[in-house]
Symmetry: C2
Subunit: 234 residues, 2 copies
């Protein structure tokens, strides 16, 4: 049996389209709302702490982020926040959910090109409805043989996906911007990982020490570099 790569998994947020920048804009607005009470650093720290405390219950996504934002605003102002500001946070939530999908450079042509030679699977985590909407809006859905939306990207969730599609991990390559969610769990299973960092990484997705480059792990600056890499390792 050939061990060449047959299937490519692609992460979505910050790999195919911009996402973290939408949250960053919200963070700025949120810090601005609370600027009469606390400095940016305090607000950011409290928001992150509350998000992490709620993560297991809420999961990822904009609605979870919004509920944690409201909780943070109430806590940091000791209940003195104006109700109109809470209304504004909810309106921002809707704007974020309804935000147009902005593809990263080279994505449409490269994804199209890869789909001609490989099975492509979109593997993303977060809110079901929101992710489905973004996939539909991206115009890329038809390039993917399957879409998998999971609540957490771990070795066991990747193993379930590979099993469901009868994919040998040795023939699977995952591409994404998060070492923690896209790369390490796949390397663990014996697959390939290609890390394409986004401009910014949410603290929760950071890892202390990335793996040393080896034949299973590669780091690229842009998805444009993926086809030549595949020719080399494929």
């Amino acid at each position: 049996m050939s061990q060449s790569i047959t299937t490519i998994g692609l992460d979505a947020d910050d790999t195919l389209w911009h996402n973290e920048n939408i949250f960053e804009t919200h963070h700025k607005i949120f810090c601005d709302i609370l600027s009469d009470y606390h400095d940016t650093k305090t607000v950011e720290k409290q928001l992150f702490d509350i998000e992490m405390k709620n993560l297991n219950l809420y999961g990822y996504g904009i609605k979870s982020f919004t509920l944690s934002s409201i909780e943070t605003a109430i806590k940091l102002t000791e209940g003195k926040i104006d109700v109109d500001e809470i209304k504004r946070i909810i309106e921002r939530c809707k704007e974020m959910l309804d935000h147009p999908v902005e593809l990263l450079g080279h994505v449409p042509s490269i994804v199209q090109q890869l789909s001609e030679s490989y099975r492509l699977i979109l593997i993303t985590k977060g809110d079901l409805r929101d992710q489905e909407r973004k996939i539909a809006r991206s115009g890329l859905a038809q390039c993917f043989e399957a879409t998998e939306i999971v609540s957490e990207k771990t070795s066991s969730s990747y193993a379930r996906i590979l099993q469901r599609h009868s994919i040998d991990p040795k023939q699977f390559l995952m591409v994404g911007n998060s070492l923690k969610s896209d790369i390490l769990p796949v390397l663990d299973l014996g697959g390939y990982g290609v890390h394409i960092p986004y401009a910014t990484t949410w603290i929760h997705e950071r890892v202390d020490s990335p793996p040393a480059p080896n034949s299973f792990f590669h780091q690229l600056d842009s998805i444009e570099e993926l086809p030549p890499l595949l020719e080399k390792i494929g």
Copy 2:
């Protein structure tokens, strides 16, 4: 090829475990919070209207419901709601998410029994993380060959599930408490539908006229009646 039923799809909320009663409790608390401003009927109507307006953006689930509750409270009090009450709504959200799973009568033994003769697939809609947690807590996960969590239960979402598992609709029977989400889309595809009504049905899930009983559509009072029905039609 035999046309007998090989695969049973089971809905989760209000089919395997109680769910609507948790929302009802929240409705009562919510109406109580707003009772200084409006009567129950006005509150319920405004909340439902806002939930429906937000449904496409938010999707189903407790977090969506909570965000719509906060929006309703702000609107119905013209911003005069006490911030502490908003805090209370968020606390209720967490309690709902963390609520123990209460199985309906006869569910454990019947699901176990069915799993010995049929492929069982759990098919539910809503929030990914919340549904996964409930499945894990139910103690029933090992009875199911697969779990499918979708953002909306339509003919096309059922068709995708059947295709993914190579199931002929004529050999598929779906069991659930919602005619709209569990039964009609499956009958549309040529499968079997068994409706087991729950004590209460959320207005959004109600349909004007149920299908007349026929060889593909059956109505039962309890899941306990399912094995004898299967013997008859199987």
